[in-house]
Structure formats: C-alpha cells, structure tokens
Symmetry: C2
Amino acid sequence: MQIHNFNPGPSYISKFVIEKSIEGIKNYNNSGLSVLEISHRSSAFLNIIEQAKELSLALTGLDNKNYSALFLQGGASTQFLMTAINFLKTKAGYINTGSWSEKAIKEAKNIGTIEEISSSKDKNFSYIPETPTIDSSLDYLHLTSNNTIFGTQYNKFPATTIPLFADMSSDILCRELDYSKFDLVYAGAQKNLGIAGTTLVIIKNELLEKINTAIPSILSYKDHVEKDSLLNTPPVFPIYVSLLTLQWIKEQGGVKEIEKRNREKAELLYNEIDTNPLFNGFANEKDRSLMNVTFTLADEKHEQKFQSLCDEYNINGVKGHRSVGGYRASIYNALSIESVETLVDCMQKLKQSI
Amino acid sequence: MQIHNFNPGPSYISKFVIEKSIEGIKNYNNSGLSVLEISHRSSAFLNIIEQAKELSLALTGLDNKNYSALFLQGGASTQFLMTAINFLKTKAGYINTGSWSEKAIKEAKNIGTIEEISSSKDKNFSYIPETPTIDSSLDYLHLTSNNTIFGTQYNKFPATTIPLFADMSSDILCRELDYSKFDLVYAGAQKNLGIAGTTLVIIKNELLEKINTAIPSILSYKDHVEKDSLLNTPPVFPIYVSLLTLQWIKEQGGVKEIEKRNREKAELLYNEIDTNPLFNGFANEKDRSLMNVTFTLADEKHEQKFQSLCDEYNINGVKGHRSVGGYRASIYNALSIESVETLVDCMQKLKQSI
C-alpha cells in the first residue's frame, strides 16, 4: 500500500533516506555500533556533522570562510527567540506574511522594539506584500520566505542594506536562490531537510561580531559557532537524517534538478485547480508557493465526497489549516510527481462523479 | 562483532529498542507510513507522546493529576536556562557537585542572583557535599543527582521546604526513588531514556502558578504544559525511541528490577577496582555512582597495555573525562552485565599480564 503523504511537515521521506537510516541503525559504517548509540564525540559522528555542514553550504552556494552552518535543536520557534535575543538592540523590522511571521514577531516583542514593515493580514495572508523603503537604522529585517499555512512564497526578496534574516523552514533548497543576499537563514528540518528534531542555521560570520553580550549561552549563536554545534549534546540521529537528505538532493542533480521537478509538480497541481470548476486556488497567483498548494472547494457540499475519494486514493494530510480552511497539498522536495498525479486524478474523478 | 559500549551518552541502546525502531521506520503500526514521516498532529503521534508521558509518570510513581510530563528539545543545557528564567525571582540556591552543576549555575547567573549552598570543588568533585540548612526564602534549590564526569551520585537528597529541582540526566530511572520529593526533574534522553534530541521534564503542576511573567514563550513551562509538548513541532522520532525505552524498562520488571541489575553491575566493577592493585577508584566510596564508574591506573605506565587490551575485548568509550583523567565506564540501564563482566575480565587480564 503506497500512501501519498501531503502532510505539511513532518512529511514524506525518500526511500533512499529511509533505507540508509535503517542501515545506520543496524550497524553504522560496519562499526558494530548503531548510529543511535554512537557518542557525539566519536569520529563517526564528527564526520557526520562536518559533512552535513559542508553540504548545506555547498548546496546553498555559500563558502565556509564567510558563513557558518549550525545544526541546533528547538525548531524555528527557538530561532524566533534567538534571532531577537542575539541581534535586537534598538529596533528590528519584521514583515508579516502569516502565522509563523506573527509568532516570530510575538517572541521578538518580548526582547525589544519591532516595527512591522508590511503585512498581508488585510486579505488573510493570501499574498506577499510589497516592501517599502526600509529605515537603514533598523538592526535587521526578518521575513518568512514561504508561508506553509497560506501557500504563498517570495519570488523576489526585498533589497536592503540592513542584515536580512529569513525563516526558510518550509522552502529551503526547493529552488535555486542567491543565498548570499541573506545574513542569516534558518529552517526546521522536518520539511525539506529530514525529520523533526534539528534546525539548520546558516549565519554570515561577520554578523557574529554584532551579537548582544550577556545573553544565555544556549541561545548565543557565537557560543554555538565557537563550539561547532557541540555546545551541548547534538541530536545525533536527526542530524544524520539531514545529512542523508542533503546527499539525496546532491545525487538527484542538486538544487537545479530539484527545482525543475518542484516546478513540474506545482504546475500540474495549480493547473488542475485553475481548470477544474470544483476548486478555487487560495493564494494570489503570482505569489503561489512551490511547496504548499492551498485550495478550496467551490461548493462545500462536495466535501464528504472529496474526502472519500482522497481516502480511496490513499491521499494523506491534505486537510487545510483552520486559518484558511479547504485543502493544502504540501509537495516538498522528496514527494514524487506520481503522488501529485494521484491527487490530480482524484480531483478529476470528483468532477466526473458530479 | 559485539561492541561493549561504555560511552557516557549517547550510549548503548537495547536490542528491543533498536528492533522496534527499525520496524517503526519501515512501516509504523501497519499504517503504510514510516514513523519518520508521520505528522506530529496525527493520531499515531499523539498516541506515542501520550503513552510516553503516562509511562514516565507511572515509572517515577507520580500521578498525572499533580504532575505534568513534557518531552522538549534542547537538552539539559536548555533546562539550565529554563529553570532559572521561569522560577528565579530573588535568589535561588545551587549545589555544586561538578561540571554540569557549574554550567547550570553559570546560566542561572545570567538571569539573576544565586547562592552556592555547598560544593565539592575542593576535592575535584570526588564526593557529594553535606547540605547545610537552607534559607527558606530562596526561590528553589537546584542539584545534579548524578555527576557523569566524576562518578558521584546522591544517595540521600537534602530535606528542604523550598522547591527542589534536579538534573537527573545521567541517572533517571536507574533506581527506586521517591520522586515526589522533587518539584521539577529533567533528563536529556541520551543516557537512560533513549537517544539525543529530546529531554524529559516532570514538573509539579502547582509550580506552574509561580512562573515568572513576560518570559519567551518557547522557554515557558506553562506554555509547553498548556500546549501538551506541542507548542512547536516535537522531535517525533527521539520521543518514539523514548517511549520504546520506557516500555523496555516496564517489560524488564520496572525500575525495581532495573535497580537490582544496576547494583549487580556496579558491585562487580567496583569490587574489581577495589581488589585489583593496578586500579584506584576516583569517587568517595559512599558517594559512588551506579551509572558512571570512574577509576585510574595506579601506575600510568600500564596505560598503553590497558588500551590495547580494551581494543582486543571490543571495549568502547572508557576513556575518562579530561577533568578526572583515567577511565570511566558508563553502565546505564540498558547495558548488560555481560559487558561489565568483559571489562572486569579485561582488567584481570592486565593484572595477569604484568
């Protein structure tokens, strides 16, 4: 039985990653030990984390002289706090494109003053707002590159002279991008980078000099960089799965090939939404996400019928978030085009059956 | 090839847990999904975390009306910060029994004023100090129940009227204990509770009323309890491994049987240290740990020979921490007596070969 897993994260894991994970749990690299029980101080693990950091930088096209990659715990939610506690001095700018931006703003407000630069709240976050000219005295500008709940995604990032921070939890490595425009990006692993339990942070080294002093060690980027992600015991297995995921991306042909597939998958699904009269897209067309496709039924009376069809087709996790209603198909990097084709078949079947 | 894994954590994982982990990764509960890809909002995962919380309370003998169990991220190091930021108002008491206590103290000092109640630093933390009468106006008393690096462990906990907090990372569930004496205990999972990546926190509910206001949400015990450990995406797989580990403990006969085995293992090893003239124990005899056995060579000239023998016997991870030198055998719950017998054989072999 093949399940088509459209969950917003944790979500579909490629066969390559599943199989290699199992191999590692049985006997890591013929060491006689399981990857679940190797010491985080062992050469086996140091090799895993070094490779994971190197590949993260290689796949984002960043060099390891000017940038540091960290694998931390605590998810994007901890990054909401860390970005602010490390860098918020006088005032920071935040763009509000949905629930996750709002959570970042709320946590930063506990630390200091923030300015909401722009927002798409007026239309239930169905679009990416224009960015006005940004006050160059702000400490940094924070944005969410892809909005998992609303299905919107930045195509063009704001030009700014102040440090640019992005929560890329739901779209990192989904497309070719000039990552050097950013000073700090972070992403919880459970969407495009593996399983829940670790968070990739890439930080420009020159930013480390600007970190606020006297902040708790466990929240300090400087302390984590100085200790090479080993300030405390790292989540060994989640980091191993992230390494396997990065290796999988590389073996597929890198981000270029991944982007090509992602565009094919997204076009196929958006085309069905646009041509099937039973469905409406939620997000503004030019801001549509490659990762989370949000849509509603034109007439809610077909809800039960569509749910039964989804069950019949083994389609899992397409229920929309309560803030939007309707449906959301999360079509992250690892999800195959066959799963998207199945969903499209299911949507066509609904039309035929009416 | 069987490796005898004496690492201080991450460390040995039982066959039961390894096998069940692999089953879950292949096909969780015949759902057609891997446990690595189930949503944290799915009934499958909610069932996992509910069971893990229930079993944590059942095995510590605490009731779920007065106590809450949480599975968080960030390790004990994050708890050093959270305990202080949630509960340090005027002044808190800390007992200093080694490096981990010192780290807890350092992080708390960033938040407020602390009083070092007692310390065993004068003798390189080789003993557990007596606790003087404690000022009842202190916000709480924090201690480390077992000192991984130095191999000491509390046998009798201080009697106090103020809330008692314990870092039990390296000895939780190793012995029967009256956990109701504590108001808050925490433990990184990678020693007795599974793999690195999740931390068990058990907190007395009445303490939640005392939490400092206006603290960051991700650091608030109250917010985590209110959201049932789902304030942010929890580390699904590490929590699953913790559940399997708790189930394993229960199936072995519970903490009572685990303690019996732990005492047998520890006695066997300490007896060899005490009777073999080539070795000296490090910790004060009455404060010896059931979990981390620290010892040195009476004459360092045998170092290479002992290392070769350890290699020959497939003994892994017995190198002592640099603060103590010598050797440390971590003999956590899951480690079998056969591994301890092997280490004892190896130590006897050294004596015979000299």
